[in-house]
Symmetry: C2
Subunit: 223 residues, 2 copies
DNA sequence: TCAAAAGTGTTCTATCTACACCCATGT
DNA sequence: ACATGGGTGTAGATAGAACACTTTTGA
């Protein structure tokens, strides 16, 4: 889908640089957190920033974002969705950033630890000022995830194959930033049909064991 | 927001070309229609396509899209929103297309007519095969507009400053592709508070005059 | 037997849906 | 007076919100 004009292209003064950046979410310690890297080079050296990198055009955009995601998390087959594209005018040359967001199961993630400042999880509700307009990008991503939680099954990206209803509810509560009623939550989840019981249970601790559930589909589904 | 990686950029093999394309919607003859241009040059010469053009980097992306919109419609201050960005792998060089959609009041539009094949409105529910993946882009735009109609005031983009409830309802019906109950529609619109009576009426034809309404806000508002 | 989390139903409220008649005007 | 579209209210159904006690287990 290149140009679709009926007119010849304008002469470009400088070739734009294109970057992909990713907002990677996980639920950690019952909190919605985002993965940030430490900038070791100018500009904005020393600040925390979203992972990303220059797009070299050798693959599709989404494939490039996915590669970056795998590089940072070691995990595959995660939920990945495009957010938006922004252009930057104050740079010396035209540049674009295509932002994505991803949902990962924190238990599957293995972060790089070799560097002096390794990537780290940060709570979205208490972020320091980040490089570029990354705070704004994250805010938009959070908004999108919150909205989609209501009418899609995207929570599957945050949870393992099997999970208890309590774990699912905790994920919802972390993202919505509110506590939910256990009975109503259960009714809602089961009535929409996005999850189903596996028949198995999990015993842990001095209390009644919890039934395990799975998502009926691990593809994006609208309700 | 250029690169936000902690690593040096990869060497790019070719500079990507970036294009903006716009899905321009209007309600015409009670139908949701989209503005298409005729491709006079290869590739895809002779096919209908979405208006767009190469981004030269001299302005922001959205400003470029807006300029194209003004060029095609002659109208200003319209609703414009980014849809998504797609990359094209089969082109000889890397390319990106950033798609936008716009809502315009058909009465304000003055199309160019000088060319042999001037731009023309086409019904979205009966589109022929278009250039590139434009059919898919339009389908996504329609879906987005339908969804946003439910929980935002974006319909203001399609209507003049003042309008009757019947006109507003017709716009909703054209987009949703369904007929609505007059009484329920009125209650819903007024209870959400997105519109208000102007106090004026409009007489036309041998029947009771209709009250006129306006949107309480002509900025994007979520309900 | 106690502590700790899992599991379960009912009532109330608000919202949405369906539906039919009178009103103001121009011809 | 009649044809045309504008304007209005109510009753039933549905969905969401509030709310407390019993069950199962390990220690």
């Amino acid at each position: 889908m290149p140009r679709s004009s009926d007119k010849p292209a304008l002469t470009s003064n400088a070739s734009p640089t294109v970057a992909t950046i990713i907002v990677i979410f996980a639920i950690i310690d019952g909190q919605l957190q985002v993965l940030l890297v430490h900038r070791s080079a100018e500009p904005q050296q020393g600040m925390w920033a979203l992972p990303g990198g220059r797009w070299d055009g050798s693959t599709g955009l989404e494939a490039a974002a996915e590669a970056k995601l795998v590089e940072e998390t070691g995990a595959r087959d995660l939920y990945l969705e495009q957010l938006f594209t922004s252009s930057n005018l104050d740079a010396t040359q035209p540049s674009l950033a295509v932002a994505y967001f991803a949902l990962v199961d924190s238990k599957l993630v293995r972060l790089r630890t070799s560097e002096e400042w390794p990537p780290a999880w940060h709570r979205v509700d208490a972020l320091e000022p980040l490089a570029f307009d990354n705070n704004e990008v994250i805010a938009q991503a959070v908004e999108r995830v919150r909205a989609k939680l209501e009418y899609t099954n995207i929570a599957y990206g945050l949870l393992p194959e099997q999970f208890t209803l309590r774990e699912l509810q905790s994920a919802y509560e972390a993202i919505e930033g509110a506590t939910l009623d256990r009975r109503n939550f259960r009714k809602r989840m089961l009535s929409t049909g996005i999850i189903e019981a596996t028949g198995e249970q999990r015993r842990e601790g001095a209390h009644r064991p919890a039934h395990l559930y799975r998502f009926t589909s691990r593809q994006p589904v609208f309700l």
